[in-house]
């Protein structure tokens, strides 16, 4: 097996193993199934040119692309899409589903960078410094973005516990 074939096999192995986890993060970052799949594919495709260097531990790099691309894609798309704070009416099956839709709607109301900060800090469990490194921004920016985002979420999701919303690592 040639070096290139080995790298490809290695890449495909990684995709099979980690795609589902990446889709979970991507779904929180985008709020849409199709966008989440696009985002993951984009991150994986962009990782290929660097695969030889990152193959030992590709996940941090792929997640870094995922987070940054979720912000930059929104920047590129914003003049083509009309965003709305009002979600379409859906038939709610049960209270859990309703809660998830509330959170999805609240996340959709955040700016892309704020949403990414919330996902990285509270879903991926990254520290402020790690979040700043992944997004390529300053720690101070992470703090301010998180503060603003949590304030919005508190207003829209009063059921969440205040002490957790205001806590940080």
């Amino acid at each position: 097996m040639s070096g290139s074939d080995a790298q490809r096999a290695d890449f495909e192995e990684f995709v099979r193993a980690r795609r589902r986890a990446l889709l979970r993060t991507a779904y929180l970052l985008t709020g849409q199934h199709a966008d989440a799949e696009d985002l993951v594919q984009t991150a994986l495709i962009k990782a290929v040119p660097h695969w030889r260097k990152i193959s030992d531990n590709p996940e941090p790099y792929v997640r870094r692309i995922l987070a940054r691309e979720s912000v930059s894609r929104w920047r590129r798309r914003r003049w083509r899409e009309i965003s709305s704070d009002d979600l379409p009416d859906v038939a709610l099956r049960d209270p859990d589903v309703a809660q998830r839709e509330d959170l999805r709607g609240a996340l959709a109301g955040l700016a892309p960078r704020q949403r990414a900060v919330i996902v990285l800090r509270y879903f991926e469990d990254l520290s402020e410094a790690e979040t700043a490194d992944v997004l390529g921004i300053a720690v101070g920016t992470v703090k301010s973005q998180a503060r603003d985002a949590l304030r919005v979420l508190r207003e829209r999701l009063p059921a969440l516990r205040d002490e957790l919303l205001t806590s940080g690592r």
């Binding site: 995709v15 994986l44 509270y122 879903f123």
Partner: protein, 471 residues
């Protein structure tokens, strides 16, 4: 009570590919894209190739543009510094004169460039405009600079061309101004005197002539350091363009600054066709006679010739010989044709028998010296290089002609007349020669701006394109 972390985890369970998530295939076992079935790996490799191509393209454009800019800047730097004037610079004779580059500097920018070997005409352009045909000077080092001649009168159809002094130190030209009365003729620049540009100090000195209707500039002649400006003082002019006036001279000794205005035409010799001879000039006066005129107007008759010269007579530097083109019909009629070159000894009251000098190459072609009849620009005598060697003008420029052997060699190749006839300082005809490279000032400096703008547009375009091809 649930936390934000808990609820994010619950929401992530709705992600595509999750068990039970609606409308999505199980993606965990497939490396396929939603955009067709091509594998992610192949799409990534294609992206890699596109990026490499884009990087190579941008690098090539950068190299090209930076290389071009560097070439232009180096070229500009090369041609910028025109050496400062050197009053003692000895004249040297370039083996070729060129049209000055349209972007050559002017003396207002460079300052004086020292004694001039020659004057040439050329189109002049500036960053914002086209300045028309102007006069450029050629320094002893072969540098070219347009002469910013202040208040030069240029519009007359048969106006007097600027005249370079024999030693290349001064450039004389008709002075433009406003007559005190109604000007004549009504159109064009009005000549109100003469001015001299000092090629060493850069100063321009004016010698105005009081005039009611303006002056008809006839000719400018240098007699050593003395300038003689012959002009007609308009007295009346009619609607049909005819005019009446009286001729006079202005004599200006540049070495002392003394100026005599209004010298009577009848008491100062006519200098038509004058040729330089040391600090005097030679003027053909009759069918076979000529005289030597000093700056103070003193006239010394020359020995009588046994042929009729065509307009001009040239005395060799040592005074031993005279040369001329023979008048073909012997009547000094105003035809353009020139007869053969003739040379005669000039000692005594009567010159020796004139001997026709034919170029060696023409002799080998079997031409007869007697039958030679040429155009006014072919083999016309223009001066002496030394007592044995004439300078003649042929189709390509100036050439030497040895009077004893007829051997001829190119001396200076000349550019075409552009506004003025190329003019070589009389003393420079006897100066040592050097191989002259083409002058700078050919490249349009605006290209740097265009290239700079183009570079910005290219880089912006490349950046935009690169951002679009990113997935």
């Amino acid at each position: 009570m649930t936390t934000l972390r808990d609820r994010l985890g619950q929401l992530a369970d709705d992600a595509p590919g999750a068990p039970g998530a609606p409308g999505t295939p199980d993606a965990a076992d497939a490396d396929v894209s939603r955009r067709g079935e091509e594998s992610l790996w192949l799409q990534g490799r294609r992206l890699q190739r596109r990026r490499q191509a884009a990087t190579a393209l941008v690098a090539a454009v950068l190299v090209l543009v930076i290389g071009s800019l560097t070439t232009l800047v180096v070229g500009a730097v090369d041609r910028e510094p025109v050496p400062p004037a050197d009053a003692d610079a000895a004249l040297t004779l370039p083996d070729e004169l060129y049209l000055a580059g349209p972007w050559s500097p002017g003396t207002e920018d460079t300052g004086p460039i020292g004694p001039l070997v020659a004057l040439v005409g050329a189109e002049r352009r500036s960053f914002w405009s086209y300045a028309g045909i102007q006069v450029a000077g050629v320094s002893t080092a072969g540098d070219y600079a347009f002469l910013d001649l202040e208040d030069r009168a240029v519009s007359a159809a048969f106006g007097t061309e600027p005249q370079l002094s024999p030693d290349g130190r001064w450039v004389a030209y008709p002075l433009s101004g406003t007559p005190t009365g109604e000007p004549c003729p009504a159109q064009g620049d009005k000549v109100t005197g003469v001015a001299v540009y000092d090629t060493v100090s850069g100063e321009t000195t004016r010698a105005p002539v009081a005039t009611t209707r303006g002056l008809d500039d006839q000719r400018l002649v240098w007699i050593g350091d003395t300038l003689v400006f012959t002009y007609g003082q308009y007295e009346s002019c009619k609607q049909d363009g005819s005019s009446r006036g009286r001729l006079a001279h202005l004599r200006w000794d540049l070495s002392t600054g003394d100026i005599d205005v209004g010298l009577d035409y009848r008491t100062f010799p006519d200098l038509y066709g004058a040729t330089p001879y040391g600090d005097r000039v030679v003027v053909a006066t009759g069918r076979r006679s000529f005289e030597v005129v000093a700056a103070d107007g003193a006239v010394e008759p020359g020995p009588r010739l046994d042929v009729t010269p065509k307009q001009q007579v040239f005395i060799s530097p040592g005074g031993a010989r005279v040369a001329a083109n023979e008048d073909p019909d012997g009547a000094r009629t105003a035809t353009d044709s020139l007869g053969p070159v003739v040379v005669a000894d000039a000692t005594g009251r009567k010159a020796g028998t004139a001997r026709r000098v034919l170029r060696e190459d023409a002799r080998q072609e079997g031409q007869s010296a007697d039958a030679t009849s040429r155009s006014s620009t072919t083999d016309a005598v223009v001066g002496w290089r030394d007592d044995e060697t004439l300078v003649i003008r042929d189709d390509r420029g100036y050439a030497t002609l040895e009077v004893s052997t007829g051997r001829s060699e190119s001396l200076v190749r000349l550019p075409p007349a552009y506004g003025i006839q190329p003019q070589v300082a009389a003393d420079a005809l006897r100066a040592p020669g050097f191989a002259a490279p083409p002058p700078g000032g050919q490249g349009d400096p605006r290209r740097m701006v265009w290239l700079g703008g183009g570079l910005i547009v290219l880089l912006a375009g490349a950046a935009f394109w690169r951002s679009r091809v990113r997935l």
